[in-house]
Amino acid sequence: MQGLYAVFRKELQDHLSSYRFVILFALISMVSFITSYMAAVHMRENLEALASTRFPFLMLFSTPGAVFSMVQFVAFFGPLIGLILGFDAINRERAQGTLIKVISQPIYRDAVINGKFLAGVATITLMLVAIVLVISGFGLALVGVVPGIEEIWRLFIYLVISIFYISFWLGLSILFSILFRSIATSALASVALWIFLSFFVSLGAEVVANAVAPIDRQDEVRPEAVLENAQVKGMVSLTSPMVLYTDATATIIDPMRKTTRSIILMGPMEELLSARFQNPLSLGQSIIIVLPHIMALMAITLICFSVSYLVFMLQEVRT
């Protein structure tokens, strides 16, 4: 444990005093400010219409003010935080010759990778909590709504999911920093995978769906074909952590949402439900709906880190 704590403390110190952290934090807090400010202004103008909702506070995070909401912003650009914190974790130490020095001290070898991962997670947590708190305060001042207990719980769960989501990307970039000796290569590989998984999978999903379950536009459209097409598309796009994250947070941050499925895939009861009953779901019900998504997100994060761990432990220390 002594080694783990020493590595953790040093890495956290490095993160917090590094320029990249300062730049990243400035950028992200600026964007969060702007989006939540827009949301707040928008809400104040339409407060009459919104008065029926019971959760105005959460809308600070989920309402798209100008372009996108705070929640969408984290989904899109949150991964960059993870990537930037991890892409040179191991290979920089290898290149400057400090890795061999550290592991020849009386510590277990895994203390190095565990310490680095935990320091990254701590930095991510710090960033997200700070931003959410600042936006909350901002919202209190601008809109004048006070969060209820349930809203605080929902925000807390949202934070936990977000931390796992960004930690997944942290784990991935640490894995690349172990696999690739060159820092530039690992940075490029992580960014490439991020772009692919976040932006191209949804395009690919459409292609796959049309290939597997084509909708014949010539004849009359069979409802089963449309259904199947939508199902395949939904399945493929779930391979993107971004889609997984968006779905996982959807019902948590927006109590009015009752499903993560698109309108085509809703069953008759679900359709009826969303049309007839304009009441929010209770927190427990919201969680149950997205529990598989949350579990999957946590699982890929842990798997990703376990792979990094194994590769690091089995790798030769030389060169």
């Binding site: 080694g3 400057q96 020095k101 009386p106 030389r318």
Partner: protein, 248 residues
């Protein structure tokens, strides 16, 4: 004298390549053992196996009575290793760098700070303690590396090419420091080096390793006797080394 490092048939293969073949090495407590051989002969691989950082394909090693494969952490507590081209965190100064190594060894607080000051004075970096390591010269880095190794009060020192790339004055200072540590604190030193002159000056015994095999081991006198006979009184380690090298 007791044996402090012993290997039996120690072998390490990387795929088809064999880095170390059937190494039987004995280092006695309190001696300076010069570990010689050309580049790529398997010296560093041997040191890594003795530290438990690399797993032997065959054979066993014992360091301070411990098996480095199973008790790596305990071995690393007793053995200080100065790798070839040791690196430092650029943004740290000498004191911070030492503090980090101390904390990895579980030393913190006032005791550690006092120890760090002593060590910096010992290696002659007392004046430079506040300077960033990025601005250190090669000689200063090597001395800081030695200070980092000494922070855990090791029983055994593994020094891999410690004088490589140092100016003559720096090299002599470092060699003298190693000798002092050996004499005054009784540290056993395993010194790998290409500078045969320096090795001859301070080593009690030497081992010559070529292509993963230990082809000679013993005191310099006994090796000279074996190669040149008793009648030749003047010899240098270089001559002995070249003689062995040509025979392989």
């Amino acid at each position: 004298m007791d044996t402090i490092i012993e290997t039996v048939n120690l072998t390490r293969r990387y795929g088809r390549q064999t880095a170390v073949t059937g190494l039987n090495l004995q280092v006695k407590k309190g001696e300076i053992f010069g570990f010689l051989g050309p580049n790529g002969a398997g010296k560093t691989t041997t040191l890594l196996m003795l530290l438990g950082l690399s797993r032997p394909t065959e054979g066993t090693a014992t360091v301070c009575g411990l098996d480095p494969v199973r008790m790596a952490r305990e071995v690393k507590r007793l053995v200080g290793y100065l790798p070839e081209n040791v690196g430092f965190y650029r943004e740290m100064d000498a004191v911070q760098s030492l503090e980090y190594v101390a904390s990895l060894n579980g030393f913190e607080g006032a005791g550690a700070r006092k120890k760090i000051e002593e060590l910096l004075d010992l290696v002659g970096l007392g004046e430079e303690s506040g300077k960033k390591t990025a601005a250190f010269s090669r000689g200063m880095k090597q001395r800081l590396g030695v200070a980092e190794v000494l922070i855990k009060d090791p029983q055994v020192l593994f020094l891999d090419e410690p004088t490589l790339g140092l100016d003559p004055e720096g090299a002599v200072q470092l060699i003298n420091l190693i000798q002092t540590l050996n004499r005054e604190k009784g540290m056993t030193v395993l010194l790998s080096s290409h500078n045969l002159h320096q090795v001859q000056k301070i080593s009690h015994r030497v081992g010559i390793m070529i292509d993963g095999k230990l082809i000679a081991e013993g005191s310099i006198d006994s090796l000279a006797e074996e190669k040149f006979g008793l009648d030749q009184k003047e010899y240098s380690l270089e001559e002995i080394y070249m003689k062995y090298f040509q025979e392989v």
